[in-house]
Symmetry: C2
């Protein structure tokens, strides 16, 4: 337990979760040294990072509001109140995400969101930013982190009173924890990888396909999705097996690519003019789920965001969960600082089972999006959920709505959804029984 | 795919699996450079390693026979044909492991077994041993491994045509694989750790408790076991939670230790004269399960033994599975060398699901040993299994027997055990139904 009233906090990683947490800590008067491996993204040198856009929803927005920056960030967001399903026959089917028209997810640019968050962090006088500093190792007890300076190539050690690892799915801070006794760790890759492609704006600067929707081309064992960008373009992401007879690995020539897309995504082909060149120019990336624990090393070092729980992107919750981490973390700071061991361990205990649940949900939703989403059965199920939610708004809330449009902790949402389904089934049986009894009485009274 | 007919094989780790595999490869004429982090154990400098004794059974013995060294190793082994259960009231209950008296497990000394295997490896003229060389990293593509020389402290790189990582549960070779794309990895610690204690030989050099048994003191949430050694001593291992109100962490003084042991292991206390001193002198160690995949990096680097699948010790199968790896590996070498990519990937495919199954069995058996083993219900179940096995020896084989006394692959054994149970249940229902029908006919005929 640190007794220091003004601890020096070393925070590795000024990605989305790291920059937000630095802002929140700065707002509470804490001194934060924030280190980021990439160059300052505001100078235009930084790459776009892992993916180009994100779906920001209730949990993430609530955290941004707490930091007072939600309104600014929403200015350039594009509302997506539903899914647009693209059939093999080029048919379009629209599915609203909620019965409630003011419940929608927001397509935001990762790069712009990161810049906004870095600006917010920099505004805090206690927060100092250091770019081009890649964290490569840590001393968990000191605590201290080792950074390689991108300009000089030299490694230097930065010590502090507390070390926060927000250094992403391949975290060096977590890498060090992993070599300590009793640290549970798990990384699981999907057989599917992804590749990004772009639908440019139309010639008049408008949107070539429906602006206010998350587009899905579900093809059972794989899919493509597209999210709108503020400039009129869409970022398409093809999720496909990495290896095997029908996979990224199997498309060798431009002709292969053209044939594959014309066969499986016929209506998308005319919208992606540089399809073949982009296909080979853009990287194919893998998809990993990381689970670990405990997230803290005593009261000295702690993990937040993807470094603690990287997930696959299919529930659109990665960044929302990362921002929610920051809120829960700040709750624990407000409750227990400067007893940092209690702060860190309470944060871990409150959060762990919910991010584990989210990891499972995210993997399961891939199957739903690529396979079920296009089926009549799925459409009936969604319709039934909306009807029940409309008739019994307090009593029945679809799981997707609880995850996306509420702050009910993930594991609690899953439990509630299961109970709801059991009740609906019981009610169904009760109605059927009642009907049978009434019918019997009617028949008997007729004889 | 290497086309080389005489590849140079760098093998990191001359522990049990590494030394056996080097021997087998040497016997087939392959050139092996075998590196071991510890000093030569034959000089008496090396520590005993992770635990002092092991339970060698059918799978392990079969592999040792293939290398022609089983008979030598069995000379100093002590047969354990059953479990001796020590009750809280100091009562003793003996449970044979098999209906068949020549099916037993063998208590062997890890240190002596390792020396025997190193001697066997050294006898192969193509195998060269290098001690005091700790593997700290690897280049998976070269392939090559980096070793720290224990005498000079200097690091040097050893390149070869093939690299085999047999460097144990905390493998540096696997550590490098883990940082490659698409490598699945998982380490899970138990809440329980372990501590070893010793029951010395009696004054006349005999065994203070039953020699030919694996002793268990089952105490529901924890347990102690003891295995006999050739010198008349027993190695006791206490498996207990690491933290919490009733845990290793909670015993602070010698008085605490005495009180705890007298209360929970009353008949063991007089047999462990240095109990209190040994308790504080001996380390408390953790128990980890490691699962990963793929075990090979193309046709260049591959893992065997604990580096590929470290398990907890409760099924007595760790070393048996490691030796079985060597056999399956050599099968693949004989089938496909010098197409090493096929050798390695076939070995991985054949083996992975079985070692995953074993990892689950080993964790599940902890619960069985510490909790169920002492219960009347468990005794009835074991008795029923033995009876069924006696009546239908071809048709019904208990899972423990298939795992321990056969070479049926682990996952196949579990599937077969499940089918057997279903058939027993069906037969039970069929008999009950038949009985009911006969009874009904009898009653009706009486009216």
């Amino acid at each position: 337990m640190s007794k220091k009233e003004d601890p020096k906090i070393v925070l590795a990683g000024a990605g989305l979760a790291g920059a937000l947490l630095a802002t929140m800590l700065g707002q509470k008067g804490y001194r934060v040294e924030l280190y980021e491996k990439r160059p300052d993204p505001r100078t235009g040198q930084g790459g776009p990072g892992r993916s180009i856009n994100l779906a920001l929803s209730t949990r993430g927005l609530h955290a941004l509001e707490r930091a007072g920056i939600a309104a600014d960030i929403l200015k350039s967001a594009i509302a997506m109140p539903g899914r647009m399903i693209h059939g093999l026959d080029s048919s379009l089917t629209y599915q609203p995400y909620s019965k409630n028209p003011d419940e929608y997810i927001n397509s935001v640019s990762r790069a712009q969101l990161n810049i906004d968050l870095i600006n917010a962090a920099e505004k805090q006088e206690n927060v100092t930013l250091h770019f081009n500093q890649r964290c490569i190792d840590a001393d968990l007890d000191a605590p201290a982190a080792d950074f390689v300076d991108g300009d000089t190539g030299e490694t230097h050690r930065v010590a502090g009173d507390l070390l926060i690892g927000a250094d992403g799915a391949f975290s060096a801070v977590r890498g060090r924890m992993q070599r300590t006794d009793l640290f549970d760790y798990r990384q699981d890759y999907l057989e599917h990888g992804y590749k990004e492609l772009t639908i440019p704006p139309s010639e008049d600067g408008g949107f070539r396909i429906e602006k206010n929707a998350l587009h899905i081309w579900p093809r059972r064992s794989y899919m493509m999705i597209a999210l709108p960008n503020a400039d009129g373009s869409f970022t398409c992401t093809l999720f496909w097996p990495l290896k095997g007879p029908i996979s990224f690995d199997a498309l060798k020539t431009k002709e292969d690519v053209t044939r594959f897309f014309k066969e499986h995504f016929p209506d998308a082909v005319p919208q992606i003019p540089d399809l073949e060149d982009a296909y080979f120019a853009n990287p194919t990336s893998s998809l990993v789920t990381v689970r670990c624990g405990p997230w803290n090393h005593g009261g000295k070092t702690v993990l937040v965001g993807d470094s603690a729980h990287a997930i696959v992107p299919f529930y659109g919750q990665g960044i929302n969960a990362g921002f929610e981490d920051c809120e829960i973390f700040m709750d624990c700071v407000e409750e227990s600082a400067p007893d940092w061991e209690t702060v860190f361990s309470t944060y871990y205990r409150r959060r762990k089972k919910h991010t584990d649940t989210l990891a499972r949900l995210a993997i399961a939703n891939f199957k739903e999006m690529r396979d079920h989403v296009g089926s009549p059965k799925f459409l009936r199920k969604k319709k039934r959920e909306r009807l029940l939610h409309t008739w019994f708004p307090k009593w029945y809330v679809p799981l997707y709505s609880m995850v996306t449009f509420s702050r009910i902790p993930y594991a609690d949402a899953v439990r509630r959804a299961r109970n709801q389904e059991l009740k609906v089934q019981s009610a169904g049986w009760a109605i059927a029984t009642l009907f049978a009894v009434v019918l019997t009485i009617f028949v008997v009274s007729m004889i």
